[in-house]
Structures are given as C-alpha cells and as structure tokens.
C-alpha cells in the first residue's frame, strides 16, 4: 500500500466481483484497451467457456459506455480465436526479408538475440543507433517510451510522419493555455449526466472529426448524441457530409486543409460583432488587441474565398458558438494532418478563449490523470547528453520543446542516409507502416531495409512484418492479459483483466517490454512482474492492481474553475500555467522558439491555390483517413463479421464527378497524385462509391488497407492498396505536420490484370 495519502476516489457499485459465473460461463469484468481496438477503454464483460472466449458484452454498470459497445469489441472473440494469429516467436535471416520463410523459435532465443544485438549496437554505435517505433498511442505508448529511454535511445517515435496525429493539438493547447483540455461530456463523474455540477453544452462544435466512428481525447463518440438529445445545438466543420453533418444546425463544408482560415474567420467575426466574452478576455487572456488586429483580414468574405464556405455560414456558426453559455469543441485528427499543423489547433484554442469556453461545465476541462501518458513514461532515464542526439529535435525548435519523441520523418531520413549517425536496428511494436501510418511506401521499403536488424511485435503477420522483420514476437490480445487503462482523456483507476490464456505462446506487450527493460536497465524496471508495475502506477488510487480489479472504475477527484482557484499553476497563483498567467492569444512560448506568436493560415502545397498548373493535371482533392465502423486503422481486416461490413477500400466521389469521369459504381480505379515535393507520383486502388455528400472536385477514402488473405510475398497487396502512397515523408518548416487530407489527385480505371 502507498505511503502517500491516497486520492479520494469515487467507486461504482457492482453486482458481482470482477469474476463470476453466469449460465455456465465464466464472466470477467474489465476494461477493453487495445490491441486490437481503439484509443478508448470501454467497460466490458468477457464470457469464457473453459479457456475459450465466447462472447464480449458492454458492461451496463460502467458509467463510461453504459453497457454500449461498438462492433469491434463485440466481435473480439473472432479476433482472439482467429486461425491466423501469430502463435510463436519467429526468425528469418536478413537476406530473406520479404520471403515467407520464417522459422519458429523459443522466447528465450528471441529475447536473448534481441538483447545481444541491441547491446552490441549500443556499445559500438551508441544507443541512439536503435530506433523504437510504436503505432498509434494505445496501450503501448507508456511501456515503449520507457523501454527506449531506459535503453538510452532518444529515438522513440510514432509511426506517422511529422507528428501528424493528436500531439499537435496538445502542443498548440499547451503553448497557448499552458495545459491540455478535453470536451466535457460529464465523463469525469461516476454519476455522469446526473451529476449536479455538470451542465449540458449549449453547442457542440465537431471539427475535423467523425466522432461516432473515430475517437480522440478518450471521448466515446456517441456521447455527442447524448448531449444532442439533452438539447445541445450542433455545428460540424467537415468537407464530407457525415451523418452528424446532415443533422447539424450548421454544417461548414470547407475545402480540405483550410480549417485554420475558418477558425480565424470565426474569431474575427466574434470580435468585430462584439460577441466575445469581455470578462474572460479581460481577466484571463493576453494579447487581445494584437490578436484582433492579426485576424482582421479574415472577414467572412475573405474567409469564403479561401475556404469555400459561404460568408453567411461562417458568420452564423461564429454567432451560434459565441452566444452559447457553454460551448464544447470535439476536434479530430484532420486538424493535425496538414503541413504547419500547429496553426489549426492554435486558431481553434484562441476561438475557445475569446468565448470563455474553458474550465466551466459543458466546455473544455482538465482531464484528471494517474499517468502522464501523453508525454511518455520514463523520461528521467534519458540523459541530457542522449537527448541531444534526438532525431528531428536539433533542426526544429518546435519538435525539441513540443515533443519528447523523435521525428519519425527524421528517423526515416537517418535510416536512408546514415546521417547524422548510422541506424543499426529498429524495434517496431504494433506498427504496420507499409499499410498504415507510414507514408510513401517506396521510401519506407528502402528505409527499414537499410537497418541491419528489425524486430516486429504484433498480433498477426502483417505486410510490415513480412517485409522487414528478422524476429517476430507474437502478442496477446486484451482478453488474454492483465493491464491498466491510463490513456488519453480523463483517466480512472481501471484494470484490464485476463479472461482466457493467450493463444499459442503469445505474451502481452507489457510483459515483453518489462522483460527486455529488465535486461537492458534493471534499475529502471524494478518490478518482478507486470502486476507490480501496474500497482506502482495506480498507487494514488490507494489500491494495488489486484485490489483495483474488483473496485474499478475508480473515479479521480475533479473540479471546475481550477484557474480561478490557483490550481493550474505550479506556483499556486491564479490563472493559467503560461508566462503571463493568461491564455496567450499572442504566445510568448511560440515567439520564444522563433514562430509567429499568433496563429496564421498557410496554403497547403499542391493545392488549387498554391499550384494551379499542377492541379490541372491532378484536378481532384483527395482526403484520406475516412473511418469505417469495423476497422481501427489497419486492424480487423481478418475478422469475418467486421470485414463483411465493408469488404474493400472505397473512394467516395460526387455523383456528377463520377459521371464526368465515366466511372461505374463499384468499379476499381487508381487514384494517383504527386508525392509532396518529391517530383514522383504514387497511386492506390479503390472501388468507386457515388456519394452526394462530397463537394464536386473532392474525393474521400479510407486508410489502412491490406488483404490478410492475400499473397504474403506480395505483401498482402499493401503496396497497391495503401493510400499513403500519395503522401510524402517530407514535411514543412516546423517539423510538425504532413498533408494527408488535401492531396492533389487524378483517377482512372484499373485495367484487366492490374
């Protein structure tokens, strides 16, 4: 038990202990947090018959999802029991990369080899010569950051180019308000919508996000519906008609990539029409006059010219949002997927500040946390000397101060060139770079094949493992292991409870990381088993991991109005944790690293405005990354009930464009476009879908495609299905952001035999 005074947690009443019998099945209550699956962490009940998982249901007693569940977790038994699972550690010699000639080995041989090779590289080339890559930040981020840093490598990175996911919004928030915020759907309270302190937002502003099928900020997407049913108005900013956009009070169908201009236009209107929150701005904002001047060029008419959204709609949306007592912003990854992506987040944060939408019920709140998941775990184990060598950080002050991770594009560059130092090995945990996340597969193929030794840890054999792995480690799925859920958004004391034995010899990500961590740096990994490690993280709840299983979810203390109470700043003063103690519309933090102190709109590369000649050849704008209900990024394609929901990748095209192009519905076509500034083009195959909810000239497609049923030595068709073939590993001047959402493209039929 902890020596510190535990936090006063609020528990939820349960009918049963965490494990009980129901109708001859063993029921195990717990949390569902990847892999497989998403960023959230729903309460589930897993039913097993002997050692076989037979059914998963939502937990009706869990306030988070209240018994609901999406298709991916409902179908988890099919994933767990899949005949295609990786069951044993595998090895293959380097010259056979890409060939389906793996050999089964023992865990001892796998781990001994990894230990021996990594230590050899560290001794001879420096710890920085080993890169540690992780996929999207799920139940992996904390463990792998600690593994990398305690090994001594500063090159812990994410499998997406130039920080184009989530962290830009965090960074933009932090450098403007001193901290990060999430929308208030009452998720911090055990009694949820009935909590007397909570107030339903008057307006919900969904921006660059399809929250019903995607998920960020630890927000369960259908909470948007919960607040609409309780009376919230809805504004949606999206180039595509989503179901929410069709129901919205106001839908702003912007030209892809122009979000920042929309936000600046709204901010200008709010100021010009005197709709801003005078008291909040006077008390808590810095740089209002400069900001007002800065945005004054963004009249509704000018905003219309750039964004394609009618001036009167910009005005109406600004008015509706500003006049609400409580406005909640539900934003998404689209804002991160452009060059200079920090500008999007900054502009929207300034809009929130002008309207006083912070720290009050139904607005943006401070998520309670047990583990600083976002900044990585175990940073103290990386020496300043090693941090000096972090790839990307030395060229980009914004990467140096804004992220603890190395720049993935810079890691690729180092793999390709051996500069500024050679890269000898790559650790790839839950990444499927050739199908998803990674850009430009031609470059990705060269980069990872330059490394002498690659280890891939994953659930299934993937295109990435088939192409690059010298050792493959089989990983257990969440119903097969223990864990805790400390991810993005509001955290709770929450346990992931093993329901069945792992398939074959699978081990959990955490077991693998702990075991390797103990071999590399025992001092940094003082725990004998993962349960001890979990207990040390949830210590503040006053429970050990074992005790927490029956109690979870344990809700952490939460308050509104922290900035007024002096609870946001380390010095105990009132205000926000910035230099001035105010939300900085004119940001000292950005100014200090040589960036524009105020958010600024930059036109994207290869857009009709920046490159009109190129766009004659590539006349369509392609937006990638549309979500499908059954899939999480590149996962779930081998789960039959999910695959049946959407068997092949599609591109949504306006019916009139479709007629112009002479395509038939369901026809296979190539989408081809210039890869950034490389001078090359890339293409991907898609099936055509006529969709009236796309503007003319704009197309929309899903990412993450491969065919698990395909030929392993053709890398499961990933190279022709990956829409990131049109995306460059290169990025803009700040090191933050690459274009995924507004790509120039043309479309033409796939020929017979292609």
């Amino acid at each position: 038990m902890s020596e510190k005074e535990p936090l006063h947690v609020i528990k939820v009443e349960h009918t049963h202990p965490y494990r009980y019998d129901e109708d001859g099945f063993t029921a195990t209550r717990g949390n569902a947090w990847s892999a497989p699956g998403c960023h959230l962490g729903c309460g589930v009940i897993m039913y097993s018959d002997g050692d076989k998982l037979v059914k998963v249901e939502g937990d009706p007693e869990h306030p988070y999802n209240q018994g609901r569940l999406c298709v991916r977790c409902l179908a988890v038994p099919e994933a767990v029991n899949s005949p295609d699972r990786l069951l044993y550690p595998l090895k293959r010699s380097r010259e056979n990369r890409g060939k389906n000639v793996f050999e089964r080995i023992t865990w001892d041989e796998a781990l001994d080899t990894i230990e021996e090779r990594f230590k050899y590289y560290k001794e001879n080339f420096g710890a920085e010569s080993v890169q540690f890559w992780q996929g999207t930040g799920r139940d992996i981020a904390a463990w792998i950051s600690r593994l990398a840093w305690s090994f001594g490598s500063p090159n812990y990175t994410f499998n997406i180019n130039a920080h184009s996911c989530y962290s830009p919004r965090i960074f933009a928030c932090s450098f403007t308000t001193g901290t990060f915020w999430v929308g208030d759907y009452s998720q911090q309270f055990a009694d949820r919508f009935d909590n007397p302190e909570w107030k339903c937002p008057d307006v919900t502003l969904v921006w660059g996000n399809e929250p019903l099928a995607a998920n960020s900020d630890g927000a369960y997407g259908h909470w948007v519906l919960d607040v609409l049913e309780r009376g919230s108005k809805l504004i949606v900013v999206d180039p595509r008609l989503t179901w929410l956009a069709a129901k919205a009070d106001i839908w702003l169908q912007l030209r892809p990539g122009t979000d920042c201009a929309v936000a600046l236009g709204m901010a200008n209107y709010v100021i010009k029409e005197d709709l801003y929150d005078h008291e909040f701005v006077d008390m808590w904002c810095y740089g209002f006059d400069e900001f007002a001047e800065h945005v004054s060029e963004w009249t509704p008419e000018r905003t219309e010219e750039v964004t394609g959204v009618a001036a009167e709609k910009i005005a109406a949306a600004a008015r509706l949002y500003a006049q609400a007592d409580a406005g909640l912003v539900q934003w998404g990854v689209a804002l991160d997927q452009r060059i200079d992506n920090l500008e999007n987040g900054r502009a929207i944060v300034c809009l929130m500040a002008l309207t006083g939408n912070f720290d009050k019920p139904g607005t943006m709140i401070q998520p309670p946390e047990l583990l600083k998941y976002i900044t990585g775990w175990g940073r103290e184990w990386l020496t300043p000397e090693q941090d000096e060598k972090r790839l990307g950080a030395n060229y980009h002050p914004a990467v140096r101060v804004g992220s603890g991770a190395a720049g993935s594009s810079d890691c690729i560059e180092a793999l390709l060139t051996g500069k500024p130092y050679p890269i000898m090995a790559v650790w790839m945990q839950s990444i499927n770079s050739l199908a998803c996340g990674g850009a430009d597969t031609e470059v990705t193929m060269k980069a990872f094949n330059n490394s002498e030794f690659n280890v891939v840890a994953d659930l299934f054999m993937t295109p990435t493992a088939m192409a690059f792995a010298d050792i493959v480690l089989p990983i257990a799925m969440f119903p097969e292991r223990n864990g805790i859920r400390c991810g993005d958004g509001c955290q709770r004391g929450e346990t992931i409870n093993q329901a069945v034995s792992p398939a074959g010899e699978c081990r959990s990500d955490m077991e693998v990381n702990l075991e390797l961590g103990r071999r590399f740096n025992p001092e940094a990994w003082p725990w004998e088993n993962v349960e001890q490690m979990f207990s040390s993280i949830v210590e503040e709840t006053g429970y050990t991991f074992e005790e927490l299983r029956d109690v979870a979810p344990a809700y952490l203390p939460f308050e509104y109005g922290l900035h007024e109470k002096g609870k946001l700043r380390k010095d105990g003063g009132v205000g926000f944790p910035t230099t001035t103690g105010r939300i900085e519309l004119w940001s000292h933090a950005f100014n200090n690293i040589g960036m524009d102190p105020m958010p600024t709109y930059y036109e994207q590369d290869n857009s009709p405005m920046s490159a009109p000649e190129l766009c004659e050849e590539f006349p369509y704008i392609l937006s990638t990354g549309a979500r499908q209900w059954g899939y999480f990024h590149s996962e779930h394609r081998q789960v039959p009930h999910l695959r049946a929901l959407h068997p092949e990748p599609t591109v949504q095209i306006n019916p009139e464009d479709l007629a112009d192009l002479g395509f038939e519905e369901g026809q296979w076509v190539w989408l081809e476009g210039p890869i950034g500034r490389t001078g090359r083009t890339g293409r991907c195959k898609r099936k055509v879908e006529a969709y009236p909810g796309m503007a003319r000239g704009v197309m929309c497609t899903e990412h993450g495609w491969w065919h698990p049923e395909g030929d392993p030595e053709k890398l499961y068709d990933a190279l022709e299905l990956n829409c990131n073939n049109l995306i460059t590993w290169d990025y803009g001047t700040t090191g933050w952001g690459a274009n995924h959402k507004a790509l120039a493209c043309r479309a033409y039929p796939v020929k017979d035999g292609e």
Binding site: C70, V71, L74, H222, L225, W629
Partner: protein, 110 residues
C-alpha cells in the same frame, strides 16, 4: 395480453451496426444472416441545408427479441449495445404513448 415489440427511435440511429453484430454474436449467426439489419436511407439533398440521411434497423425472422436474456433480467443484446440508445422493448400501449410524444419512431413486432 399486450404484445411486446421493438421501438426504434430512428431519428437517432447512426448506422453503427452494433445491433447487427451484437445479435450475430449472441445467436451465432454467420456473416450473411441477421436477426436485425440496418438499412441506409440517403444521403440526398432536398433543399438548401436539407439532407435526408437516416438509418433504420429492422428485425428479421431470426429475431427472438432475446427471450432468454430478458427472462434473466438482461436487455436484448441489440438494445443493450445500441450506441445511440435508440432501441427499446416496449408494449403496444407504451409504443403508442411514445409515438404520440415524439416523431420519427417505428414499432416492430414479431
């Protein structure tokens, strides 16, 4: 005795397919058979800022209204897992009262 059925508040159905998969998993149905199936109506535009875009779940011959679950005090699997909370099991009278109060609802019996 009043007949029970499924009341669908289809104004809120987002087409998330949770009802379909929950039912298939509960009843061991193959990928091409359903106890409840969602249909998509739209999207099409019928005026400035006016879009028809709806989903409507419909029960099939293979639906049992999850009698066995209900006997044990649980909700039918589709009702429990519906992310939009737009499904309910109610009597004819309750359905009539609910429909009198709000539009865009559909009552289905076996």
């Amino acid at each position: 005795m009043s007949k029970k059925g499924l009341l669908v508040s289809y104004n809120w159905c987002t087409g998330c397919h949770s009802c379909e998969i929950a039912c298939q998993m509960e009843n061991g149905l193959p990928v091409d058979q359903f106890g409840i199936k969602v249909s998509q109506i739209g999207p099409w535009q019928y005026g400035e800022d006016k879009w028809q875009y709806a989903y409507i779940p419909t029960i099939t011959d293979q639906c049992t209204l999850c009698g066995k679950r209900v006997e044990k005090g649980k909700l039918p699997s589709c009702v429990q897992h519906c992310q939009a909370k737009c499904l309910k099991i109610v009597s004819e009278e309750e359905a009539a009262a609910a429909i009198a109060e709000n539009g865009k609802q559909l009552f289905m019996t076996l």
